[in-house]
Amino acid sequence: MIAPFWRSRLRLLFALAMTGIFAGPLYLALVNVFKPADSIRAHPLALPTDFTTKNVVDAAHLSLVQTGLKTSLIITTCTVLLMVPLAAMVAYYISRWDTKVARGLLLFFLLGLMLPPQIVLIPTTVILRHLHLMFTYWGVILNFAAYFLPFGVFVFSGFLRTISRELDEAGAIDGASSFKVFWRIIFPLMRPATASVVIVTALWTWNDFLAPLIILGAASGVTITTGIYIAIGTYSVNYGQEFGVMFLASLPILAFFLLLQRHFVSGLTGGATKG
């Protein structure tokens, strides 16, 4: 028998070793941002002894990266601003207007949770073409807002069950309209759910590759993911720039994650585990 003290030490050492191995690719992606291209090839795993910010500066000058970051920021912001209030409102209607129709509506929305994007994208492009929204920001935004709407409805309608109806009724007795009751009383109370929905939707929108690849098309601008793909895949930038580009593309979302870590984890896992 090993003494408990040593057992916990051994366990910690083992966990640290495993975490170290797991973090290998992250370490690689980070150190090579700050090394000249030729020393990336020669010593990919070494610490940056000849520290340089050239890769990041070069990457920031690429027009694909500049447009990509700008476009992704616009599309992510608009998708969240459009989808979150819509999802919250319809979830409020579903949870409060407690009829067969409302319950059917919930199931109808939840159907969207298990649709692979591939099945809806082809007809979506046809519809967007008829609306003259193909190859535009709005085409991508509307597609994302519609596709992520079921997730929002799912989280909000689950959370609304925990908010007492007496609050609505009190508001109604005081003569407030249902819009007022919703926006002034209920919506502020849903903040934890709103945080989850905003974070997860923003993350999915920022990181998505397929929809902007098809709807936006390379000719009318790129998001950061399609930008990276074109920059690295097609123009084959040098190794140093490649790491610079990936660093710039991930920096916003990583900073966001490290600031709001708790919300990220509960949002991403909560979306999967509870309503």
Binding site: V120, L149, E169, L254, G275
Partner: protein, 320 residues
């Protein structure tokens, strides 16, 4: 969640629904939701959802029985013609096989390793919290970024081979993306790396819900080590297994970004997943009819296998 009986029988997905959801049905309707409020609250979402999700779903089924092609002026009804030609379509059949192999690898690997990581990182204290964060970081990175990082590792003159050389294991060097088996394994490894932390977090949440009295009682009865894992931990994390399995399965069948970036379906179609093939048929061959038929097959597989998995695993949860 207080008693063990509750944890035993309540699937995670249901726990939040409990008291208010049911009893409220008998209550009167909310008085301040007057008739006109219904359209104003539900219509915008419905228009958006029907227009860009439900209508496309219906249209996809419709296109799948036509020869709709972006480049052709006219579209004709072809009945089950597209589905029939899929039966003899070597590329499609290979992509189906690739997706099935990916599904097995991607359901098993992150699930098994994720449980291991969860047990390993369930310790108290700051250092364990930091390690849990490290495992979660890949989850927030774009699949495209993750794919490029790994591509830099896996190419012939990449990091993995040079590390093997430095360690004196030069004989293990491989063209990691050159042969079909290696390429499939490599892509599955990348997906595993990205989803490991997510699975671990789901497992950690259900491990935390195991009451300590139960563990102590087991200890008193002399049930420790593997037996304790087999008899107590494993049955109680069953809901987490359900969730991870279904999510990983869907992820595996939707697999697009990774294969597009790392291998572009190669070598020789060895990593050409169903999702990637739909993209190729639809957008490089412009054959919307055939691509839609493939998409309908994809949807049918995802929908039926995930509902089946939920039913089977739920049953196991309650009998375990």
């Amino acid at each position: 969640m207080t008693g063990m009986a509750e944890i035993d029988t309540t699937p995670i997905g249901r726990s939040a629904a409990s008291p208010s959801g049911r009893s409220s049905r008998s209550r009167r309707r909310n008085p301040n939701l007057r008739f006109w409020t219904v359209p104003s609250f539900a219509t915008p979402s419905l228009v958006l959802y029907v227009g860009l999700v439900f209508l496309p779903l219906v249209l996809a089924v419709g296109y799948s029985v036509t020869d709709k092609n972006l480049l052709a002026a006219h579209t004709h009804f072809v009945g089950v013609g597209n589905y029939q030609s899929l039966l003899h379509d070597g590329v499609f059949k290979q992509s189906l096989r690739v997706s099935a192999i990916m599904a097995v690898l991607i359901v098993v690997l992150p699930n098994a390793l994720g449980l291991g990581v969860a047990l390993m990182l369930s310790g108290e204290g700051r250092i364990y919290a930091v390690m849990r964060t490290v495992f979660f970081v890949p989850m927030v990175l774009a699949a495209v970024v993750v794919s490029f990082i790994w591509q830099a590792m896996l190419t012939d003159d990449g990091v993995l081979n040079s590390v093997l050389r430095t360690l004196g294991l030069g004989s293990l060097q491989q063209g990691w993306l050159d042969t079909p088996n290696h390429a499939i394994g490599a892509v599955a490894a990348v997906v595993t790396w990205q989803f490991l932390g997510f699975c671990a977090v789901i497992y950690l949440a259900s491990l935390k819900a195991i009451p300590t009295e139960l563990i102590e009682a087991a200890q008193v009865d002399g049930c420790t080590g593997f037996r304790r894992f087999r008899r107590i931990t494993w049955p109680l994390v069953a809901p987490a297994v359900t969730i991870n399995t279904v999510l990983l399965f869907i992820t595996a069948f939707k697999l697009f970004d990774y294969v597009k970036v790392i291998t572009n379906g190669g070598p020789g179609g060895a990593t050409n997943t169903l999702a990637l093939n739909i993209y190729t048929v639809g957008y490089t061959q412009n054959d919307f009819g055939l691509a839609s038929a493939e998409a309908v097959v994809l949807f049918a597989i995802v929908a039926s296998v995930s509902s089946l998995a939920v039913i089977l695993l739920r049953r196991r949860e309650t009998t375990a």
